[in-house]
Each structure stands twice: as C-alpha cells, then as structure tokens.
Amino acid sequence: MTTEQSPALDELIASWRAWIERRDALSLCDVDELESHLRDRVEALTTAGLTDDEAFLIAVKRLGSMDELSREYAAEHSGRLWKQLVLHDSSDIEGADAANGTMPFVRRANGLVVALLLGVGAGIAVKATELLTDDPELVFRNIAVLVLPFLAAWFAWRRRPPVGTLLGVAAAFAVAALALNFYPFDGGSSTVTVATQNSATAVLATIGSIVGLWLVTGIVDAGGVWRSDRTRMDFLRFSGEWLVYYVLIAIVGGALSGLTIAVFASIQVDVTPFIGEWVLPCGAAGAVLVSAWLVGAKQHVIENIAPVLTKVFTPLFTLMMLALIVASVMQWNLVDGSRDLLIAFDLVLVVVVALLVYSISARDPAAPPGWFDRLQVLMLAAALVVDIIVLVAMIARTGEFGFSANKTASLGLNLILLANLAWATWLQIGFVRRRVPFGRVESWQTGYLPVYLGWAAILVFAFPPIFAFA
C-alpha cells in the first residue's frame, strides 16, 4: 500500500497538477518537486490509516494557499512573469520534433540560421546589383524584386506551399521585373527627383511593385490557400507585426550606426562612407528577413503589438480628424490646399484602414460590440466626411491641376480606400446595432486585399505606358 499508488490518486494528482501548472510563476520542475512532496505526504498519511482521497485533501491543504505560494515563487523567480524570447528549441512551435532532440540544425530556433542566410542573400542581392550596374536609380526601382524573393523563399521554406503556387509567384516576380526594367522610363524631363528617380511613373511603379509583390509574397505565406479568410487575416497580422519589428530594428540600427561613426570619428577615422554604402543597404535588406523571423519566433511568446498601438491611437486619430472637420468648416480653405493635399489624405485613409484592420485582427469575434467599436464608427464617419470634403474640392479643380500620373494614382487610391471605408462604416454600424455578425466585418477587409493588388498591378504595368513614361 505504501509504494503502490491507486489509479484514483493518480487522477487526483493529475488534476491538481493541471490546475497548478497554469501559474506562470511555477516552472514544470517546481511542480514536479511539489508533486513529489505531495506524494510523500499522502504516503505517510495513508500509512497512518487514512484513505487515498482523505490523505490527498489533507496533503493539498497543508501545502498552503496556492495564491500565497505562487506569490512566493514569483518573488523568488520574478523573471518568470516576464515572458522571454528563448532561442532554444523548447519554444519552437513545431514542438513535436523538437522534443525528441532529433531536430536538424537548420530548424533550430525557429530556423534562425535559414533566416540569417536569406537575409545575407538579400543584402548581397541589393549590393551586387548596385556594384554591377553602378546605377542607384535602378537599384531603388527594383528594390521589391531584389529583396522580396528572399522573403518568399523564407515563407516557402516554412510553409511548403504546392509547386503550382511557387511557380505562379515566381512568374509574378518575373513579370514585375520585366516591366520595371524594360519600360523606357523618362530620364530627365521632370524637374522633381524622388528617391533618385526622375520619372514620376517610375516612382509610382516602384511603390506599386512593393505593395503588389508584398501581397504576392503573402500567397506563399498562406501556403497556397490564399482564398481563405483566415490565412489572409494571418498575413495581415504578420504584416503589422513585421512593420513594428522592422521599425524597431531600423531605429536601433540607426542609433548604432551613429554611435559607430562618432566613435571612429574620435580616432580620426571616417567610416561614414562604409556605413552609408555597405551597412545601410545590406542591413536594410537583411532586416526584412530578420523581422520576418522574429514575428514567427515570438508569435507565442509576446502579445501582438500592432493591435495595442491601434487601441492607443484610434481615439487620438479620431480626435485629430474631428478637429480637422471643425477647422475646415470654420475656414473653408481645404480647397485652396496645395497639390499634395490628396496624397496627404491618402495617407490619412491608409492609417484609418490600418487602425480598423488591426483592431479587427485582434478582436474576439464572439465578444459583443463595446465602446471601442462605437468609437470606430465615429472614426470611420469622420474619415469619410473629411475625405469627401477633400475629394469634392480636388475634383472641382481638376481643370486647373490637370490629370498627371501622380494625381491620377492618388485619386484612384483615394477612391479605393473611400469605397472600402464607406462599406466598412455601414458594416460597423450594423455590427454595433447587432444586425451584422462580426465575421462579415472581418471578411470585408480580407476580401478587399485583391483590390489593392489590382491597383498595384495597374500602377506597375498600365500607368507607365498611359502617361508616356513621364
């Protein structure tokens, strides 16, 4: 009786373990130790004549209050309450083959080695193109074609999509590369130079290729099932987190570069050219892959940050737009705004769509509508009002400004976003009034992704010929 445990006791202890393991402050080893203690105590009590379940109850009671105990553990192991990004294999999401220790080298730490190699590849691709062609304009125009294939390769390595998907994506990259490089973009007619490009249509094609190929890369991430709402939403979540990490890496990288330059300057060595010509382009390209790796590695460790930013900035942004409405009504001078007004408002609408999408991405679909959803209705309505004021003003003056490539592109984007937001507002009002299920709000945004892809493709393929490569 003393050494042989009855199955009933094992069940009791198993359920006790399940309850206690939920506490962050206790590691599995601690629970093992407490279980060992519990069994010793039960054994002693049953020897004294108690039944198993009586002994179990007393033993658990004598361990003391679990709240107090986990507070003690937390005081001793305070680090455990902060989730840490661990690079060893136990954090790997494909834990099945991580557990038995037979995981191949490249799969360890969520494939950090592969991500780093691809990052180096992206850096080399950018730098080699620049060295071979000696034409920074060409490198800028091809930036998406040079870097994003490595991101697609990373996704392909992780998701193993069907070969047909890979071929389709490769074809999209190839076609984009052909258009970007064989269209005879005008070299010197314009006086404005943006990002080393002289031709406005070249700039638009570059932006279009970045957005379009990013979405195409998402098809690889979706493992080929890109029609599904869920995989599209996952790619949107990935994109938001990726951007946050990329910006963080860029800030720290910039600070580190500045420090390096300052330190070397103090010993009369000027490393600015080296930083500018090597570290910056290679680092910026490589960070694309490192950020992508980070998003995957920390997925289960750290809370998504993009939705948190959304929660913080939605009220502030709403206030900003309401203030803008009041100001424009009081002064009625939005109409006299500069030609860049439309581009500025495209950015406003992009931010509004992003705020909406990332709050949707983190929302529990089953939760009833709350104050935040009502606030979003206000934000959407304010954005619509502001944008309609701007659109009316701009279209009324088209005759004066004319239809340049830039104006047409930003007008098109504006209309696309306006259509999205108008219907999103309608759905959001329906959702707040409990007439529309949350799933429709969500699927409207994911279903709209191909529209952006289409507009990006038009910018890359159709705009340059239409506007004579100006």
Binding site: D32, L34, D40, A59, L63, S65, L69, E72, Y73, E76
Partner: protein, 122 residues
C-alpha cells in the same frame, strides 16, 4: 503555543541550513525533521519551504540534484555548500547573541534550557 509569523520567517533560513548541515535531504524530509525537532510548534504551510530552498540555492548556500526515491519517483535533494556552511556559522553567532541577551533579561524563565539548546548555546 504558536510561534509568530515574523519569528518563523527569521528562523527559517538557519533552521533549514542547520538541518542540511546534518546531511543532504529533500523537502518533505526537511519538514518532518523540523516538526520532530520543534515538537510541532515551529510550522509553516508545506509549500513555502520550496521557494525558500530555491532562494538559498540561488544565493549559493545549497546545491540541488534530482535523484530517484526508493519508490522510483524523482525527488530533488538539497546539500549544504561550503558557502552555506559559513552562512550557517554566521547565523549561529547572531542567534547566540540574541539568545544570550534574552537569557540575561529573563534569568529565571521556567523553561530556559530548551531554547538554549535549540539556539545552540549549551
């Protein structure tokens, strides 16, 4: 009689280190030994011993190792380290001083032999 919470907390470290000075041991046996030595009067909830042991381990006063119990279950054994031994000696000096002071304040306490023993003053 129940010993106050603060006094228990203050005594816990020297008591646990002292028991480990008798030889390596594990949580449940340490608690049994404390009950035995104090006649059941020095007690705290069982679980609280373990965070204390972990703190002593982090400070380097004890070393630990997982072993098999005779019944075949895993069990974590603790052993006093050299540093722990010197900490114990230091604790002992401090408690002796306090015990000496109390002995002089209460010269004719009815039962002043047992505390002297427990405090290592004999």
């Amino acid at each position: 009689m129940r010993i106050g919470k603060d006094l228990v907390a203050a005594a816990a470290t020297p008591v646990v280190l002292g028991i480990l000075a008798e030889g390596e041991s594990y949580g449940y046996a340490i608690l049994q030994r404390i009950t035995e030595l104090s006649g059941g009067e020095l007690e705290w909830s069982d679980g609280m011993l373990y965070p204390l042991l972990h703190r002593l381990e982090r400070l380097g006063h004890v070393d630990s190792e997982w072993r098999q119990s005779p019944g075949g279950r895993p069990r974590k054994h603790y052993r006093l380290s050299e540093q722990g031994a010197s900490t114990l000696a230091e604790h002992r000096r401090q408690w002796s001083t306090i015990g000496g002071v109390l002995d002089q304040i209460w010269p004719d306490a009815p039962d002043n032999r047992r505390p002297r023993l427990a405090l290592g003053l004999d």
